[in-house]
Amino acid sequence: MRNLIFFFYKYYTFILFFLLELFSFVILYQYNNYQRASFLNFTGGVASGFYESVNSTTNYFGLRNINDSLLAENARLRAQMLNAYYQSGFTQTYINDTMYKQQYEYISANVVNNSITKRNNYITIDKGAIHGIEPDMGVITSNGVVGIVTSVSKHFATIRSALNGNTKISCMLKKNNAFGSLEWNGDDPKFSSLKYVNKHVPIATNDEVVTSNYSKLFPQGIPVGRIYSHSLEAGDNFHNIKVELYTDFSTLKNVYVIRNMMKLEQQTLEGNLKGDN
């Protein structure tokens, strides 16, 4: 017993270090999405608030660009007034139709924090649980896909951006509906790679890549990017495709979070499969 106490006394720094290191590994790898969300909720309220106040200051420097992009978007939206799908400000649009039942609704949000050069990038937006945002919702801009919501606090939400090693978005080629999975290799924030496209599928550069109808998070046909280059190694079953992303992650300001109102139904039907795409 005395030796034991002596041991603890002698190595208390190591023991302290070891316990804390163990703790960090546990929260890093053992935490599932829900626990991660609760950790980030606990601490993230501070971080998001901080980033928002910083953002509200730095936003003044970019007002001209924001205005330009909003004007461009307004012009584009005016062109599609007939099927008015988006609405500026925080309004959720419902369309009553007896033939078509609306499956997706869009929640607009502003980006308060964003990174593009890390291996795993995250985005913080200024809308949260009280605005109806939940984990595992798809996020897009007017140009293309952005990512997937991972954790939500009361007023904020963090998004696993498409520039993240853990984000896999189910995509397809627009011209022949061949499926693939969009995964980022951590190299260049302008490009991503499309994996698991079978080698018998004919592809060409500049083919458009859109979200597939297998995805529960995105409506079918949201633009993702276009094929920049492709190759096929001998003996390989899948094409090696480099996709130029439509979304410019470095100037991300306004995004739309997509709520799939039939997701639960589809998930229950598919036997509670919790897919990542």
Binding site: Y12, T13, F14, L16, F17, L20, E21, F23, S24, F25, V26, I27, L28, Y29, Y31, R36, F39, L40, T43, G44, V46, A47, F50, Y51, V54, S115, I116, T117, K118, R119, N120, Y122, T124, T150, S151, T158, G165, N185, G186, D187, D188, P189, S250
Partner: protein, 172 residues
């Protein structure tokens, strides 16, 4: 004593603000992600108790994790660095350094000593951090390149900061 304490808190806040507001926004390339916030741990007094350094390291990492939505990542890396720092200082400092409240800076220990110290600590931190982030050796060389280029920038920025802010210590 109390002034030292307040000065350290101010330094902590200042370094973190520089990291979060300036360095994180440089976004030069996906291979350059300097993490200069480790300077806070590096510049703690030599004579500080090891357990205190370990605790502060984990705390600093936790604050960084909070602001980059990566629970545990910076905590593990900074904690390891803070723990190993004790051993390095025991090996690299004389007994007199441990008696006084000496901070390991350029003006106290000389440029070469400081650079070696910063390079070793930065490499420990960055290697651990970047490989932990990937959690596989699949992209081994790409990650290694990422570690080395980020570490280079970290060392340069920390070194420049020392030359800018700590020169006046010589005259005191």
């Amino acid at each position: 004593m109390i002034i030292d304490f307040i000065l350290n808190i101010v330094k902590f806040l200042l370094i973190l603000l520089i990291q979060l507001l300036v360095i994180n926004n440089i976004e030069l390339s996906t291979y350059v992600n300097p993490y200069i916030y480790i300077l806070f741990i590096l510049s703690l007094p030599v004579s500080m108790k090891p357990w205190m350094v370990v605790l502060l390291s984990f705390f600093t990492g936790m604050v960084m994790d909070t602001f980059s939505s990566t629970p545990g990542l910076h905590m593990a890396a900074t904690g390891l660095m803070g723990y190993l720092r004790n051993f390095y200082l025991q090996f690299a400092c004389s007994k007199e350094d441990f008696d006084g409240r000496i901070e390991p800076t350029v003006s106290r220990k000389g440029l070469v000593w400081f650079l070696v110290y910063v390079i070793i600590m930065t490499l420990i931190h960055h290697v651990f951090l970047f490989y932990l982030e990937i959690y596989s050796f699949q992209e081994f060389f790409r990650t290694l390149f990422r570690v080395l280029s980020s570490a280079l920038f970290t060392v340069i920025i920390i070194g420049l900061g020392q030359l800018l802010f700590y020169r006046s210590n010589n005259q005191r």
